[in-house]
């Protein structure tokens, strides 16, 4: 409640600023504008967290020093003992001997009546909990309960996603290099214009969507305590979605483009396959939840079901032609591209985090009601802000203002979500050093806050003034789609796959994946943000346009470097995936024997 009040306070404080920005914009003191300061602060948050980690390391060093002091004291104590006479020492030793010999009889707490389970409540008991990498984890129990069909679905969805991730980022990296060497090739189907939507759509619908649905299947079945309603539907959806990406990619490379609106580049017959895939998935999930064996619907399922239904509505609205002539198309474009990110990727992924984060930590989510608040505000605020992609455009001013105001309102769901995740992690910080999954969750959560807040700031009129149309937008979309979505998805994948297949990836390689991706993203983001800002300022100063192209060159080099690191991390991830799932069914069958013997 306090958080909520704070958010409202913050919101109302920001409001007059946005509205007053309307009449006069000056760049004299651009550095002190709230949007820009806000962005600096947000980036600083990430830096500060890195510094905090450094301090923890320093702290251990200080501890060491302290221990040395303790050793010294101990030596003084030893000297004291040496100075004692024999009688005194004998008395002490006798006392100690008696203490050591003391034993429990075994019935201090339970009494000595016989144990019987008259009501049949106990199904199994384990004498020695089989600990995984976390003290609380019991990985065998999971592998006993998960049906092979479900395992197979999760693995194939994630496998296809990993393939599209590697391919999609390879294309992305190639595109990034074209900024430095525009003459790299002269094939029509590899040209920048045609290949750019291939990259974005492939990582959107191929990597993120398939990985989300795959992880979602496990969550839906698990939290409903039941089986997936229909396994073969899951396979049909898998085929349809993969087919969408193959056909869409071929169309785009051949120059068949729906009209160039971002994420709407696939023509409707191709996108229809995706929509049908989503509808099938929705029905399957819905029926599974409907046949759940517990009365409550877990919050994850709220997010996942809503993401599916919203996205189905969204793609229908995005592709229906009746209101899309003239600038009608532009209104829909803003709505569609923002909701594609907010209602599909963000909502679904949050649903996954509400399950995988607490289950990894083996404790409940900090606040269930905060999750519910985040859910409804996500729906109310996110839906209204699409037009913030067209600030200062010929679209109606009122529509732009609504978008800006609600962008600021996004503080509420974002703060609610972030608080919930961080408070869930609170008290388990020491696990971060022990686990290879939690760092992914932590980075995802930090970027969830930083990326979303930065997006809200970017919607303000002044920040739009400097950053709109520049490479800053590209930095923002990578910060969110990669920093939030991809990191959360990896967290989910590393959390669940080893439990499904019984094979843990090498910790060194997971670490390599994490650090390459994180440093790569940081290099990518910072270089484009800095370059984008200088580009915007150059435009404001009225310099010839080509100057802004020339000044970007060093930043584009750093972007390519960051991109290479990201690509390298994905190759490591693909290997880790292969290692985790290699021969999983064999391991499973050997487990089955165990199951029988138990």
């Amino acid at each position: 409640m306090k958080k909520c009040k704070m958010a409202i306070l913050l919101f109302s404080g920001v409001l007059p600023n946005i509205l007053s920005a309307q009449d006069k914009i000056t760049t004299d003191n651009w550095l002190s504008s709230p949007g820009i300061i806000g962005t600096f602060v947000l980036i600083a948050i990430v830096m500060i967290i890195a510094i905090v980690i450094l301090f923890i390391k320093l702290n251990t060093y200080i501890d060491k020093m302290k221990r040395r002091q303790i050793d010294k004291n101990r030596m003084a104590f030893d000297d004291e003992i040496v100075a004692m006479d024999e009688g005194e020492i004998d008395v002490i030793l006798e006392k100690r001997k008696a203490a050591l010999k003391y034993k429990l009889k075994g019935d201090e707490l339970s009494g000595d009546s016989e144990v019987s389970d008259e009501k049949g409540l106990v199904h199994q008991f384990i004498k020695d909990p089989n600990n995984a990498f976390f003290d609380e984890k019991k990985k065998t129990s999971l592998s006993l309960e998960t049906p092979l069909e479900l395992k197979k679905i999760v693995i194939y969805y994630i496998g296809a996603a990993a393939l599209w991730l590697v391919l999609g980022t390879l294309i992305g990296q190639y595109l990034g290099m074209k900024f430095l060497w525009p003459e790299m090739d002269s094939q029509s189907w590899l040209s920048f214009g045609r290949l750019r939507p291939v990259h974005t759509n492939m990582v959107f619908w191929g990597w993120s969507s398939l990985a989300m649905i795959g992880l979602g299947y496990f969550v839906i079945a698990r939290t409903s305590n039941t089986k997936i309603y229909n396994y073969s539907w899951a396979w049909s959806a898998w085929r349809l979605i993969n087919l969408t990406i193959i056909l869409g990619t071929m169309c785009l490379m051949a120059g068949v483009n729906n009209g160039g609106g971002e994420y709407r580049e696939y023509i409707w017959p191709v996108m229809l396959l995706f929509a049908v895939g989503l509808i099938i998935t929705f029905i399957n999930f819905y029926k599974t939840v409907a046949t759940r064996k517990i009365s409550e619907i877990y919050i994850s399922n709220w997010f996942i079901l809503a993401a599916l239904i919203w996205t189905i509505v969204l793609s229908v609205i995005g592709y229906l032609p009746f209101y899309q002539d003239g600038l009608g198309e532009t209104v829909i474009q803003g709505y569609y591209m923002h909701q594609g990110v907010g209602m599909w990727f963000m909502t679904f992924t949050l649903g996954l985090v509400y399950y995988y984060l607490p289950s990894t930590l083996n404790k409940p989510i900090y606040s269930y009601s905060l999750g519910v608040l985040a859910f409804w505000t996500q729906m109310l605020f996110y839906t209204m802000i699409g037009t913030h992609h067209f600030v200062f455009s010929p679209l109606p001013w009122w529509l732009q203002t609504i978008a800006i105001v609600f962008s600021a309102g996004m503080v509420i769901p974002v703060v609610a979500g972030t608080t919930n995740f961080l408070m869930t992690m609170k008290g388990s910080w020491n696990h971060i050093s022990k686990s290879y999954v939690l760092p992914f969750f932590l980075v995802g959560t930090v970027f969830y806050f930083v990326g979303s807040m930065q997006g809200s700031l970017q919607a303000f009129r002044f920040t739009n003034f400097v950053w709109h149309f520049t490479d800053f937008n590209v930095a923002h979309s990578h910060m969110t789609m990669y920093g939030i979505i991809a990191f959360f998805l990896w967290a989910g994948i590393y959390a669940i796959l080893p439990k499904l297949t019984g094979k843990e990836p090498s910790q060194v390689l997971v670490g390599a994946h994490f650090w390459l991706a994180f440093i790569g993203l940081f290099a990518y983001m910072i270089s484009l943000m800095a370059g984008g800002t200088y580009k915007g300022l150059s435009w404001i100063d009225g310099e010839p346009f080509i100057e802004s192209v020339i000044l970007m060159k060093p930043y584009w080099i750093w972007r390519a470097v960051g991109g290479s690191l990201m690509l390298a991390s994905h190759l490591v991830f693909a290997y880790n995936f292969y290692y985790m799932v290699k021969g999983y069914s064999k391991i499973k069958s050997s487990r089955k024997v165990e199951e029988i013997t138990v």
């Binding site: 094939q187 009209g259 609106g261 619907i297 899309q324 346009f545």
Partner: protein, 336 residues
């Protein structure tokens, strides 16, 4: 009543229903309103050729790097005389065909220049073709892709009369003995680019730009005298795409200004005429369009003074009054 925690039906129906309602409110109704926009009275519809060009523009996805919207802020003034309005898109944003929707030509990134007014800023077909064949022939720092597949490489002997030969300098050809001719797609795309001009609004009540820089504003108020105009900057913005920043031009396409007789002539009348009216007297070079409508007297004077005093050129500066006088002659001749 609506027990969302236990009733999945209510949960999904509410989430879906509210979302649909909000979507209608924030997307569909405004979109329907925007669709009712009518064209500006003298706005020209696209010809068949230009529409074909728009199709090439969409399938090469030029929107990935080029915007077509002049925002209502000062910095966008360089892309058009007035901010874009919904009517500007009446003809170009219609559904393409059964398979493809109305093109998103407004764009979201400006990796390359805005194209709202490119037809006025750069009306030369020769320049556009050369630039599409290889942008670095005319703009050495450009990162735009080349579009060689819109052109054909043929033997000089097999060039037909109605083929459009592109004057590509030798160092940009893989086989110097061949000629480059533009395919239909390239010509149509250039038709479309030349079509892109801001229609003038009837009457004078034009929506103003939100001022950005106090300095520029103050200069405008002060009357924008010649001293305030930077001839070098204007030259880079207007002239350098053809004549190059170095003044050397592009051999075979755009003449060099260094040591040029016209540029260095003591009497600047001819030079001013060329800029105002355009020039097509030399068959070995492309046609130069006139800039009389686009540039003010003071701007032309600043550019010419820059040309006459750079790259080793050494001639007297041109004044605003000189230009005004020549403009008067030109208008008198036209009225005859």
């Amino acid at each position: 009543m609506l027990n969302f925690h236990k009733n999945h039906k209510n949960l999904v129906l509410t989430a879906g229903g509210v979302f649909i309602a909000l979507s209608i409110l924030i997307a569909i109704i405004p979109a329907l309103q925007m669709q009712e926009t009518e064209p500006i009275p003298n706005e020209k519809p696209l010809t068949d050729n230009e529409r074909e060009g728009l199709n090439v523009y969409v399938s090469e996805n030029c929107m990935a790097c080029h915007t077509q919207q002049v925002r209502n802020i000062e910095m966008d003034n360089m892309w058009g005389k007035r901010p874009s309005i919904p009517s500007d898109y009446y003809y170009s944003k219609k559904r393409l065909d059964v398979w493809r929707q109305s093109p998103s030509i407004l764009g979201s990134e400006r990796t390359g220049p805005d194209l709202t007014d490119i037809g006025k800023r750069q009306p030369s077909e020769d320049w556009h073709l050369l630039h599409l064949y290889n942008p670095r022939v005319v703009v050495s720092a450009s990162v735009m892709p080349s579009y060689p597949w819109l052109f054909e490489e043929v033997d000089s002997a097999s060039v037909r009369k109605d083929d459009k030969v592109v004057a590509v300098p030798k160092e940009f050809l893989s086989n110097p003995s061949k000629k480059i001719i533009a395919k239909n797609d390239a010509l149509r795309l250039v038709d479309y680019l030349k079509y892109l001009k801001q229609t003038e609004l009837p009457g004078s009540n034009v929506e103003d730009f939100i001022p950005a820089l106090k300095k520029i504003q103050a200069d405008r108020v002060a009357g924008g005298n010649q001293g305030a105009l930077d001839g070098g900057k204007l030259f880079s913005q207007v002239c350098a795409v053809c004549h190059q920043e170095s003044g050397k031009g592009v051999v075979g396409a755009f003449p060099s200004l260094i040591g040029s007789e016209i540029v260095n002539d003591e009497n600047s009348e001819k030079l001013i005429r060329v800029v105002i009216q355009g020039y097509d007297a030399r068959s070995d070079y492309g046609v130069m369009p006139g800039f009389g409508d686009q540039l003010s007297d003071a701007e032309i004077a600043a550019i010419l003074t820059h040309e006459r005093s750079s790259w080793g050129n050494d001639a007297a500066p041109v004044t605003k009054e000189d230009v005004a006088q020549v403009r008067q002659y030109v208008e008198m001749e036209l009225n005859k």
